[in-house]
């Protein structure tokens, strides 16, 4: 029975790219890009990546999430947050917004149903 409850993979084990960057001076955008269709679909279908998760992880209200989507042509998941501080000005911590992605890496994705069912 315990076998069925497979320890999930982390997002960093499944994706090829996990990154953050400015989208203009007033937004931070996050991309998770996969190299294969199967892990992309597994993550997409897992239902783990939600607006609620993003809000909880980054401690931001829902209205700060200005985009949240899967983008099939690039096997990608993307969301964009309103920047809570002025880019490149007083109190800046990350001018390019390039180091805000790390918490996404540890998100656990459960094994897909197919994977669980097919195991002996």
């Amino acid at each position: 029975m315990n076998d069925k409850i497979k320890h999930g993979d982390r997002l960093r084990d499944l994706a090829k790219v996990i990154r953050s960057k400015n989208s203009g001076p007033f937004e931070l955008t996050f991309d998770v890009i996969f190299s294969q269709f199967e892990p992309y679909l597994r993550v997409k279908n897992s239902g783990v990546l939600t607006r609620e998760l993003v809000c909880r992880l980054y401690g931001v209200p829902d209205h700060a999430v200005v985009a949240f989507m899967f983008f099939d042509p690039a096997l990608a998941f993307k969301f964009t947050l309103r920047r809570g501080w002025a880019q490149g000005s007083i109190g800046e911590r990350d001018t390019f917004g390039a180091q805000q992605h790390a918490p996404l890496m540890e998100i656990e994705i459960p094994a897909s149903r197919e994977a669980r069912d097919s195991r002996p």
Binding site: V17, K21, N22, S23, G24, P25, F26, E27, T29, D31, I33, S35, L57, Y58, G59, V60, V66, A67, M69, F71, P73, A74, L75, A76, K78, T80, R82, R83, G84, W85, A86, Q87, G88, S89, I90, G91, E92, R93, D94, T95, F96, Q99, Q100, A102, P103
Partner: protein
């Protein structure tokens, strides 16, 4: 009229340098133009606010020399957009001047067009009063003070001002445009050649303006072949390849969303775009659609002086102090606020960045209770004058060094300071005061140009 045109882009940011062998490999393919973007807001508002270029003049000159050699050899035009980075008039002129110097030195004869996108604050005030300016993306609402405080304002031109110059001067060798929508020169060149499907030329320009960043691994020099209803992308380094995935993924980069890309005159909709692997290294793209907006808007960018900054930096290794670092620093902030009313009124700011704890993510950091082995502290003070910033910063640093705390055992000093002098003035700090969309009466309205012959 040609059925197909070819555009060679050496690099995604003019002045960053590119492999010359790849550039000349691209030139052998017979491109019709060399197009390169030099702009970005990403380095922050200081460039626009203080009139600084992104790259050093020597770096710009090196890239320029190679491209001009291509221009002269193949008699094709070179289009440069957002000269200098912020694309202000002074950077357009500096780039033109540099071209003139290189032309003289190498005995080249060059006809150069300069297009300016500096915007007078009077025009912005007028449009603001008319209710014809709205925030771009997530920018805040505009105020009249934002306009007044802006030291420089530019507008991103669409393709139209560049097209007008190319049509009026078919023999132009180099176009140096001020602040431009990044894909604008690519679009202008396509329209010049009768390839007038905006769903194609904007999508192509959006990818090409970054050079071969859409390749795997990320590269520099790239060739686009554009026809009526599609375009092909091929990186010029044989070690790189474009794949359907790498190209499709490109519109994720630095964009709010990958499928709807707003620009001057409308929105590029990539919801039905198609990507076809032509050969191992080349991808054909089609299917982009352009939805014109009811009013033609240009994006304004403005920067204002936010104050003057002084910083100190140092580290803490004492576990007793690290265990109470937040209340310790809050206590220092309270003490400083009691001395300097500017910190209370908001005219001055004291901010501690605690590296090792949440220096990178601040409030966004999900791990709130992490206790590090050591922490680095950047103390940042901004005030209306450099003198006041220095005074507050010095006081803050002395407090970090000597303020007692509960359970203190190390009574000789709290803080390891690497720099001497410990406080350092780093000068003016800017802020983006304008990042808004302004309606224009015509796409050409606020832009003007001149021709220089060397």
């Amino acid at each position: 009229m040609k059925e197909e045109i070819k555009i060679l882009t050496p690099v995604g940011m003019f002045g960053y340098g590119f492999p010359e062998a790849d550039f000349w490999r691209g030139m052998e393919r017979g491109p019709d133009a060399i197009i390169v973007d030099a702009g970005s807001t990403d380095p922050g508002p200081y460039q626009l606010g203080l009139g600084k270029m992104i790259v050093a003049p020597s770096a710009l000159e090196r890239d320029l020399r190679v491209c001009l050699a291509g221009v002269v050899r193949a008699r094709i035009p070179l289009l440069i957009s957002s000269a200098g980075g912020p694309g202000i008039g002074a950077h357009v002129d500096a780039t033109v001047e540099m071209i003139g110097r290189i032309a003289k030195e190498t005995g080249q004869r060059l006809k150069v067009a300069a297009i300016y996108s500096d915007i007078k604050s009077e025009l912005v005030h007028e449009r603001f009063a008319q209710g014809r300016i709205v925030p771009c993306a997530s920018a805040p609402q505009l105020t009249a003070a934002d306009i007044d405080e802006s030291t420089r304002i530019v507008a991103q031109m669409g393709f139209e001002p560049i097209l007008e110059v190319l049509r009026a001067h078919p023999d132009v060798d180099v176009v140096v445009a001020g602040r431009s929508y990044d894909p604008a020169p690519f679009a202008a060149f396509c329209v010049l050649h009768g390839l007038d499907d905006p769903g194609i030329y904007w999508h192509m320009g959006k990818i090409m303006e970054c050079g071969a960043v859409c390749a795997e691994p990320k590269g520099s020099v790239i060739l686009a072949t554009i026809r009526k209803d599609s375009f092909d992308l091929e990186p010029m380094s044989t070690a790189e390849r474009c794949t359907t995935l790498s190209v499709a993924a490109h519109t994720l980069y630095e964009k709010t969303r990958p499928d709807l890309l707003a620009g001057p005159g409308g929105v590029l909709d990539l919801g039905r775009s198609r990507y076809l692997q032509l050969d191992e290294r080349t991808v054909r793209v089609s299917g982009g659609a352009f939805r014109p907006s009811p009013a033609y808007q240009v994006k304004l960018e403005g920067a204002a002086l936010a104050g003057h900054r002084t910083i100190f930096i140092g580290g803490i290794r004492d576990p007793i102090l690290i265990g109470q670092i937040d209340p310790f620093l809050q206590g220092i902030k309270a003490r400083l606020a009691a001395i300097y009313p500017e910190l209370v009124s908001g005219k001055a700011r004291l901010i501690f960045h605690i590296y090792g704890k949440n220096g990178v993510m601040g409030e966004l950091e999900p791990q709130k209770d992490f206790v590090p082995l050591e922490v680095g502290i950047l103390g940042e003070v901004t005030a209306q004058t450099q003198e006041l910033a220095h005074a507050i910063c010095s006081n803050a640093r002395i407090n970090v060094l000597h303020t007692p705390y509960p359970g203190q055992m190390a009574t000789a000093g709290n803080f390891a300071i690497p720099l001497n002098p410990p406080e350092n003035d780093i000068g003016p700090v800017c802020r983006f005061s304008l990042y808004h969309l302004m309606e224009v009466d015509s796409p050409l309205e606020p832009f003007n140009s001149r021709i220089v012959e060397f």
